[in-house]
Symmetry: C2
Subunit: 186 residues, 2 copies
Amino acid sequence: MTPHPLRVHLEQIAPLTDGEFDYILGHFMPRAFRRHQFVVQEGMAVPGDFFVVKGCLRAYHTASDGKESILQFATENWWVTDYDAYYRERPATISIDCIEPCELLCLSLLNREKLCAELRGVEHFFRKKSNAGYVALQQRILSLLTTNAAERYEQFAAQYPHLLQRLPKTMIAAYLGVSRETLSRL
Amino acid sequence: MTPHPLRVHLEQIAPLTDGEFDYILGHFMPRAFRRHQFVVQEGMAVPGDFFVVKGCLRAYHTASDGKESILQFATENWWVTDYDAYYRERPATISIDCIEPCELLCLSLLNREKLCAELRGVEHFFRKKSNAGYVALQQRILSLLTTNAAERYEQFAAQYPHLLQRLPKTMIAAYLGVSRETLSRL
DNA sequence: ATTTCGGTGTGAGGTAGGTCACAGCCTACA
DNA sequence: TGTAGGCTGTGACCTACCTCACACCGAAAT
């Protein structure tokens, strides 16, 4: 029997006994979503942090003129939510929806803090994960500050080759901060 | 006697006994820097993560054409380093220098991990801190994706009013990703 | 006292990328 | 099997912002 994807993911940072993993998994709520379905919707409460078992999602902000900017994509073994709203227990200011049918594991803030308090390994995992995420966002900021549309697209293609085929170009443009048309002209 | 600024800072997230704080402080190396002095220099090893007791710094990237983009400012009670290089123990890819004379506390990666392993409160503190930092960077990315020069400057002024007087406009421009001249025209 | 230099304002002109509009092509679904 | 809607390409125009150039000012340095 192949190990659970969440277990593989956690154990890349913190080793776990069978009992510990079962205990952890029990704090996640499995949820399935259809294509185009909202996982988090602007203005609504955020039910948890979502670990992606299968599928593809986008977290995006909608401006008053209707233009959408994509903050993050998420595929297998990524985590996604509106972190600002999640940590502070406020209504969401961004929306997250499914680009493909999704199987997710939802971890409520209460359960996250409970697990972190009870199991050192879990708090260690989330610290390391957050550190890595911070670094990745810094790099994206530098990319936005220093490079033009073509260079950003190249960087994206080099960093996420698997997403190139999986995502419509329109969405990649909304992630890179470029218009659909400009991206189309390479 | 007024409590140590680092202690105040840590205790906003994790309460500490006198003994614990003394033990923690013993893992930091106090260092003083002059105006314009490098704290971290591109290509060199990163000695640690720096807690700012006093002063003002900038972390910036220099492009091949010499143009500087500022990733982060740091003043009293902020942390700053090249996190990518620090966590991965690689040579720095950004530089950090002092805008004012600085008193810093340097925490090596070894001591950070040691403290995190020995004291729950410390690991908890760094997890929370990293989470908050992640959210702040997400907001900056959204700002870069969705707003123009004037709006970004307004947001910056609203968020960091004390930095407006403390920093030359040229640097604020390099932080916002706008030319000095455009910022000058408001 | 004079010079240098960092910081700032402002004008003129250039350009990367935005906006708008239309057309072609799929897939899905009735 | 027709039609509607998502995705992409492309042309024509427009504009926010960049670049270059010069001028002014105050603080520091000699």
